[in-house]
């Protein structure tokens, strides 16, 4: 049976069609990567009063690229930082590298960089909620390093400014990363919603 959309205002499609999706058509299109969206939710966590947020089932064998969103992240010292688990063991040594551009609406711009840190930063602030997105690359590839790119924003009312930070980091070890820890610089995460997606591939 030919497959397609029903209803009004049907969008343009790369495959001409008519009718409805039957089971075999849906399976065939899924195999081609043409059925369904391309951001596949792996796990969502909404937390309150925790020291860190761990994602330990990240399907690193299935995805070359992961995508994480951090929303309304609040706490006492609410830098957003990441650490990686390698074969179930959290890497806590000062081996992460990173470089970010930080800027504030007050006109201050800073280079944030390190070739030997204990975490990868995503947001650098001390108060008010932060939000961010992070791409994570090659986590499941034992021959390649694991990288991040990120962009964050927060409204810092204590200092009467808004601030952004963008950049990235790397764990320069050819290893399998099978878990991600989201954590503050110190103290407690009062509340946050963090979602981890896999970016679809065939």
């Amino acid at each position: 049976m030919p497959y397609g959309y029903l209803g009004q205002n049907t969008p343009n499609q790369t495959v001409s069609n008519s009718g409805v999706f039957d089971i075999s058509s849906a399976a065939d299109l899924t195999k081609q990567g043409k059925f369904g969206g391309s951001l596949e939710l792996i796990e969502e966590q909404t937390v309150s009063s925790v020291s860190f947020i761990d994602f330990t089932s990240i399907q690193e064998n299935k995805y070359d690229v992961h995508y994480m969103t951090v929303n309304a992240y609040t706490g006492s010292n609410i830098n957003i930082r990441l650490r990686f688990y390698e074969s179930g063991v959290l890497e806590t040594a000062n081996v992460y590298q990173q470089a970010h551009q930080w800027g504030a609406s007050t006109g201050t711009f800073l280079e944030i960089k390190d070739t030997g840190d204990g975490e990868i930063e995503v947001a650098n602030t001390t108060s008010d909620p932060s939000s961010a997105y992070v791409y994570l690359y090659n986590l499941g590839n034992s021959s390649k390093y694991s990288f991040t790119t990120s962009h964050s924003f927060n409204d810092d009312s204590d200092d009467n400014r808004s601030a952004f930070m963008f950049g990235g980091g790397v764990l320069p070890q050819a290893s399998v990363v099978d878990g991600i820890r989201v954590m503050p610089l110190s103290g407690t995460i009062t509340s946050a919603t963090v979602k981890l997606y896999g970016v679809k591939q065939l």
Partner: protein, 179 residues
């Protein structure tokens, strides 16, 4: 169903150019391209030239009609700015090396490529490392100031002694907007 629609997945072979053709059409105005684990085939710390666009005739546009601006963020040294208003490619601040010494990983967006009445714009963010520079990240913009219909793109390095490695993935997605 999310708004991100997978269009093409290309696995690289050993070559200086990686051409992704016939991926842009009237179906989408905005495309997202994800590059993961791009390596060099040889032991070399290499700066990648960047991308060039492919028009609807299948020709790679090499005219000096590209502009770009890139902020390079170096983990071990000062940040730098790279820019041009008459380039033959869009530089995105990417670096790579052989497997085990680092790679390039990039997400970039292309705006209005198929529209023959509009310029084609890019927005990129990448993370790289190699044996010369440790972690170096980049955020950039670019434009082809031609009103051409663009249907594909090419990632390339001009040094024939520095081909890309096989097995890296470049995936193209369209951003669906249903009215």
């Amino acid at each position: 169903m999310s708004a991100l629609r997978l269009i093409n997945e290309t696995t690289t072979t050993v070559a200086n150019t990686i051409s992704i053709t016939d991926v842009f059409s009237a179906d989408f105005d905005i495309y997202k391209i994800v590059i993961s684990g791009l390596n060099q085939d040889t032991n070399v710390a290499n700066e990648i030239n960047g991308i060039r666009l492919i028009n609807s005739s299948g020709n790679v546009i090499t005219a000096s009609d590209y502009d770009y601006a890139v902020l390079g963020m170096n983990s071990g040294s000062s940040f730098d700015e790279t820019r041009s208003t008459s380039a033959s490619n869009i530089f995105m601040g990417q670096r790579a090396d052989q497997v085990g010494d680092g790679s390039n990983n990039t997400v970039f967006y292309i705006f209005n490529p198929f529209d023959s009445s509009s310029y084609t714009f890019t927005l990129s963010q990448s993370a790289s490392s190699d044996s010369a520079f440790d972690n170096i990240n980049a955020k950039g913009i670019g434009v082809l100031h031609q009103t051409s219909s663009i249907t594909g793109f090419q990632i390339y390095d001009s040094d024939s002694a520095r081909p890309f490695e096989s097995g890296s993935k470049i995936i193209t997605y369209g951003l669906r907007v249903d009215s």
